[in-house]
C-alpha cells in the first residue's frame, strides 16, 4: 500500500502562504467597500446610521452589503489575473508534471479564494464595527460573516474561470468589470427596490444578490431562504463546469 500523501492540504498550505506574503491583494480588494462604508457612516453628525431599513438599521444593512462586496472581490481575485499569470509563465503546466491531480489544483484555488473572502469579510466588519458601531448581537454578526464566506464559493469559481479563459492582459480588467457589474446589479450599492421592475427580476438571479440576501437574513434574524443557497450552489456548479471546459480546451492547443 502506498502511504497517503495529503496533496490538497500541501497545495492549500503553499497557496495560502503565497497569498499572505502579498497583503496588497487584500488591501486592494478592501479599499472600495471600506472607503464607501466610511464615507456613509464615519460622519458623527449624520444620523443616517440609526435609520431603520428592512428590519434593521441602515448602518447594519449597508455593512452587510459592503461585507459581501469585500468577500466577492477577494474570492474572485484569488483566481483572475493571478491565475492567468501563472498559466502564461508555465507554472500551471509544471504542476501538471507532478502527482497533484487537476481536481486538487482547482479545489486548492477555490479554497484559497474562500480563505481570502473570509479574511476580507472579517477585516471589513472589524473596520465597520470600529467606525460606525452598528448595533448587532455577536451571534448575528458571526452568522453574517459565515454567510459571506460560504456565499463566496461561486465567485472563487468565477475567478478561476476568468483566469483560465482570459489572457494576462485582459484578465485583470475582465475580473474587476465582472465583479463591479455583478455587485451593482445584485443590489450591493443601491437596494433592489430602486431598480425598474424588469431589472429586479434579473438581479434576483445573480449570485451577488443571493449572497447579500443570505447575509441580510443573518442580521435580521429571518429564516434563511433555501432559494439563496440553491442559487449559490447552482452558480458554483455552472462556473465550475465552464472552467473545466476551458481547462480541457486549453490542453488541446499545440505546444511550443
Amino acid at each position: 500500500m502506498k502511504t497517503h500523501r495529503p496533496l490538497l492540504a500541501s497545495f492549500l498550505a503553499f497557496e495560502l502562504r503565497r497569498v499572505l506574503r502579498a497583503p496588497g491583494i487584500l488591501i486592494w480588494t478592501l479599499a472600495f467597500p471600506v472607503v464607501f462604508y466610511l464615507l456613509n457612516f464615519a460622519n458623527k453628525t449624520n444620523n443616517a446610521g440609526a435609520e431603520r431599513w428592512a428590519g434593521t438599521t441602515w448602518a447594519v444593512y449597508f455593512m452587510v452589503s459592503m461585507c459581501a462586496w469585500a468577500a466577492i472581490a477577494a474570492a474572485a481575485n484569488a483566481g483572475g489575473a493571478r491565475l492567468a499569470a501563472e498559466r502564461a509563465n508555465g507554472w500551471a503546466t509544471h504542476l501538471r508534471l507532478t502527482p497533484l491531480p487537476s481536481w486538487a489544483y482547482a479545489a486548492g484555488k477555490v479554497l484559497t479564494g474562500a480563505a481570502l473572502a473570509l479574511m476580507a469579510a472579517l477585516a471589513l466588519s472589524l473596520i465597520a464595527g470600529a467606525a460606525a458601531r452598528p448595533e448587532l448581537p455577536a451571534s448575528a454578526w458571526a452568522a453574517m460573516i459565515l454567510a459571506c464566506w460560504l456565499g463566496s464559493l461561486p465567485f472563487a469559481a468565477l475567478g478561476i474561470l476568468v483566469g483560465l479563459a482570459a489572457g494576462t492582459s485582459v484578465a485583470e480588467p475582465a475580473m474587476v468589470g465582472t465583479v463591479l457589474v455583478l455587485n451593482v446589479l445584485g443590489g450591493l450599492l443601491w437596494p433592489l427596490p430602486v431598480f425598474p421592475h424588469w431589472l429586479q427580476g434579473i438581479a434576483k438571479v445573480l449570485p451577488s444578490y443571493r449572497l447579500v440576501d443570505l447575509g441580510r437574513a443573518a442580521v435580521t434574524g429571518h429564516a434563511l431562504n433555501p432559494a439563496d443557497m440553491a442559487f449559490l450552489f447552482a452558480w458554483t456548479l455552472l462556473f465550475g463546469a465552464i472552467a473545466t471546459w476551458c481547462y480541457r480546451a486549453g490542453q488541446r492547443r499545440p505546444i511550443g
Binding site: 502506498k2 502511504t3 500523501r5 496533496l7 500541501s10 497545495f11 503553499f14 502562504r17 503565497r18 506574503r21 502579498a22 499569470a85 501563472e86 502564461a88 509563465n89 508555465g90 507554472w91 503546466t93 509544471h94 501538471r96 508534471l97 507532478t98 502527482p99 497533484l100 490542453q251 492547443r253 499545440p254 505546444i255 511550443g256
Partner: protein, 300 residues
C-alpha cells in the same frame, strides 16, 4: 537481451487541425542513457516530449515510461521535466526557493531529500531567497531542482538553455551531466548541434515530425547526404565511384543510386563524363534539410 528501456515510444503521431506536428516517431531510451532530440524549430520536439509526459494524448501510436502509461509514470515520480517557459520564469511568485522545492517534493511518493536536491542544483546558499529576486541562470537551476526532486529515472529537458548566457549554459550542462552520472536517463531537446554533441552519447534528429537519423553525432554527419538516381544499363561502377562527392554506389536492375555529400558536383561530373543516362533524379534525405536548418541556427 537488450537493456531495459525507460522510455518506449512507437509510431507516435499528433495532429493539430490539418498539420501533423509529429508524424510517426519511434523512440527508445535505455535506463541511464543520455539522448539528445535534435531538430530545427517546428520539427515536433516539444510535441513529442509533451506526449511522453502525458500532457498531450497522441493521435496514434503509444508511449510508455518505465512500462507505465505517461500519466501514471508522472504520478509515480518516474519522470521529471523542465519544459520551455516562454517569456516567464515558469515559477510561482512570492515563494522562497527552499519552500517551493519542499512543496513540490512533498507531492511525490519517494522524493529525493530536499538538501540533496538543493545541492545537486547548486542552490544551497539560495534556499531562503524569494524566487522573484533570482537571476535567469538561478531561475533555471530552480526549475532543474523541481524536475529532479521526484528522484526520477527519466529526466526530460525541453531546450533548457534558451536565453541563458554562455557561462550559465556551461554550468547548467555540467549539473545535468553530474546528475545523469548517478544513473538517471536524460532526454533533452535542442536545436544546437554543439549542445547535443557535448552532452549526449546518442542523437535523434527530428525533422517535420519524422525521425530522420539516430546515432552518434559523427555517424549522423556522415549520413547527411543526398541521393542521385538514374537509369544507365551499361554503367561502370568504378567510374561512378570516381565522380565528385560520391560516398557509395548501388546498382540494381540497371538503376544506379549514388549517395553524395554534394549532389550538384556529382551531377556536373556525371554529365562531363559523357556517360549516357536517363531518368535522373536527386532526392534529399530529410536529414540534409534538417541539418541545413540546424546549421543556420547555430548560436553566434
Amino acid at each position: 537481451m537488450p537493456t531495459m528501456a525507460i522510455l518506449d515510444a512507437q509510431g507516435l503521431r499528433r495532429r493539430f487541425g490539418s498539420t501533423e506536428a509529429v508524424a510517426g516517431v519511434d523512440l527508445r531510451v535505455a535506463a541511464g542513457e543520455t539522448v539528445a532530440l535534435l531538430g530545427p524549430n517546428g520539427a515536433g520536439k516539444s510535441t513529442t516530449l509533451a506526449m511522453i509526459l502525458g500532457l498531450l494524448s497522441p493521435t496514434a501510436g503509444q508511449v510508455t515510461v518505465g512500462g507505465r502509461a505517461p500519466r501514471q509514470a508522472v504520478a509515480d515520480g518516474l519522470v521529471g521535466a523542465m519544459l520551455q517557459s516562454g517569456a516567464g520564469s515558469g515559477l510561482p511568485s512570492r515563494t522562497r526557493v527552499g519552500e517551493l522545492i519542499r512543496f513540490v517534493a512533498s507531492l511525490y511518493p519517494a522524493p529525493l531529500p530536499v538538501p540533496a536536491v538543493l545541492q545537486h542544483a547548486g542552490l544551497t546558499s539560495l534556499a531562503g531567497r524569494l524566487v522573484d529576486r533570482l537571476s535567469g541562470g538561478e531561475l533555471q537551476r530552480v526549475r532543474f531542482a523541481l524536475a529532479i526532486c521526484a528522484g526520477p529515472r527519466l529526466l526530460i529537458l525541453d531546450e533548457p538553455t534558451v536565453g541563458l548566457d554562455v557561462p550559465s549554459q556551461r554550468s547548467f550542462w555540467e549539473t545535468v551531466r553530474a546528475f545523469a552520472a548517478e544513473g538517471c536517463a536524460v532526454l533533452f531537446a535542442t536545436h544546437y548541434l554543439a549542445e547535443a554533441a557535448e552532452t549526449a552519447g546518442r542523437v535523434v534528429v527530428l525533422h517535420r515530425g519524422h525521425v530522420v537519423a539516430d546515432g552518434t553525432v559523427d555517424e549522423i554527419r556522415r549520413t547527411a547526404t543526398r541521393r542521385v538516381r538514374f537509369r544507365a544499363p551499361d554503367a561502370n561502377a568504378g567510374a561512378l565511384r570516381a565522380l565528385p562527392a560520391v560516398q557509395q554506389v548501388r546498382q540494381a536492375d540497371g538503376v544506379i543510386s549514388l549517395d553524395s555529400t554534394d549532389s550538384d558536383a556529382t551531377v556536373r561530373g556525371l554529365v562531363r563524363s559523357g556517360a549516357s543516362f536517363t531518368d535522373l533524379e536527386v532526392t534529399s534525405a530529410g536529414l540534409a534539410d534538417a541539418f541545413l536548418a540546424l546549421t543556420r541556427e547555430e548560436p553566434a
